[in-house]
């Protein structure tokens, strides 16, 4: 019996002993710059993207678009494209051995494509509580231990790293929005239409995130490393999920 008490007291003390100075261990020390051989180019592209966003997209194009398409319409359009991404999330869930998530993807696609009127609505989430997966081949590579490589910023498209850019290109093989000659299912009839649809899809999504971007960029002392760093942390979380 004494042993039991002793055990409990020891567990108690060890769990709740004061330890004032270990916060710093929870955060990474930036002793040297991360490997970023394209940093000069990336910085120019990030500043270009930011300029286009702050001086053209946000004050003119998004404002006009928001006038003709209120948020509820733009959210529905986003849901439509998210639903079409089903083959990508499904395959990547399988590749990451997340079989339950893959089955939820099937259920979601079935429900949203029918009851949800071709995916414009998302009853799978609102009625059935089947939340959306966010998986891509970049995350699958990360899941199997492939590192990010170096950062790459793309004009109009934003921040990537080598792994996620390669992963994104591979995902186009399954994504119906990207026209592929060899495939039965395509949203468009040819590559040129496909690029138009992709541009519109990205424009619509960016319009929904415009205020978020404007608010978050205020936290930057230096925009490019801030975006690079936030991107890497976000991707790391998605890979761990």
């Amino acid at each position: 019996m004494r042993l039991v008490f002793l055990f409990l007291i020891v567990v108690n003390l060890s769990l709740f002993a004061a330890d004032a100075d270990d916060f710093n261990d929870e955060f990474v020390e930036l002793k040297r710059e991360p490997f970023d051989p394209l940093s000069g180019y990336n910085r120019v592209v990030t500043n270009f993207n930011d300029y286009v966003f702050m001086h053209i997209l946000d004050p003119y194009l998004f404002k006009g678009y928001e006038y003709v398409a209120p948020e509820v319409v733009r959210s529905s359009i986003k849901s439509f494209f998210d639903n079409l991404k089903f083959p990508v999330t499904f395959v990547n869930n399988l590749l990451q051995l997340k079989f339950q998530r893959a089955w939820i993807d099937v259920e979601r696609f079935g429900v949203n494509s029918t009851v949800g009127l071709f995916g414009f609505f998302d009853p799978a989430t609102t009625w059935l509580g089947l939340s959306k997966s966010n998986e891509d081949f970049g995350q699958t590579l990360g899941y199997y231990g492939v590192g990010g490589g170096f950062p790459i910023a793309l004009p109009f498209l934003g921040q990537y790293n080598l792994r996620d850019l390669a992963g994104g290109l591979i995902d186009t093989a399954a994504d119906p929005v990207y026209y592929q000659d060899y495939r039965q299912y395509n949203l468009s009839d040819n590559m040129y239409e496909s690029w138009g649809i992709i541009a519109y899809k990205n424009f619509n999504e960016a319009s929904l995130r415009a205020n978020e971007y404007k608010e978050f960029r205020k936290d930057a002392l230096d925009l490019y490393p801030f975006i690079r760093d936030a991107y890497e942390q976000n991707r790391e979380m998605l890979i761990k999920e």
């Binding site: 039991v4 955060f27 990474v28 948020e71 959210s75 608010e215 205020k218 976000n234």
Partner: protein, 192 residues
């Protein structure tokens, strides 16, 4: 008898800690409701809303610790008392503006909380999800138990991006090329 006593003490041990997790979760859920009602109150100006929001979030955060962590132990300890005081004044203003700014983004969105979990000695995390019209985004609050037994937030991971880690990287990079005074003056203004 022995086994009964064992179960009783063991149960008591876990229920005491489960109680802390429960109360932090409830406190944050209540707080979130209050934040939403302030944000939805169209009768008061944005400035007044910000004052009310800061009153609500101020007792939940340890902004001084956050500032210290953002600067990093080595840099912070090298500062004199006057520099430390100036830094905390500027940092507090910056972080509070930043946090209330983000709250304004999500007036119509719901924040769902899972139950808080003690992850190690004097550390607790509270996983929550911001439910937007098309996304479910992760927001993780990190708490520590202060000397006065209150559980205070020392970092928030917004969509996987740690506030402390992000500032820490930026501050370290800035201080490599700038004097502390230059850095502080940049922090005091919207740098970009």
């Amino acid at each position: 008898m022995k086994s009964f006593l064992f179960i009783f003490i063991f149960g008591l041990f876990f229920s005491l800690h489960a109680g802390v997790e429960e109360s932090v979760t409830t406190m944050m859920a209540n707080n979130s409701q209050k934040v939403t009602s302030i944000l939805k109150d169209k009768g008061i100006s944005k400035t007044k809303q910000d004052v009310e929001l800061i009153k609500l979030v101020d007792p939940l955060f340890d902004f001084k610790l956050m500032g210290t962590l953002c600067l990093g132990k080595a840099t912070y300890t090298a500062l004199n008392e006057d520099q430390k005081a100036k830094f905390h004044t500027v940092f507090n203003k910056k972080i509070k503006n930043s946090y209330t700014g983000k709250l304004h983004l999500y007036t119509d969105e719901k924040l769902e909380f899972e139950k808080a979990k003690i992850v190690k000695d004097k550390r607790m995390i509270l996983q929550s999800y911001l439910i937007t019209k098309t996304e479910k985004k992760s927001v993780v609050y990190k708490f520590y138990e202060a000397d006065d037994k209150r559980w205070l937030i020392y970092d928030v991971d917004i969509f996987g991006v740690s506030i402390v880690q992000t500032y820490r990287n930026q501050f370290a990079a800035a201080l490599k090329t700038k004097s502390f005074e230059q850095f502080l003056s940049e922090l005091n203004t919207d740098a970009i």
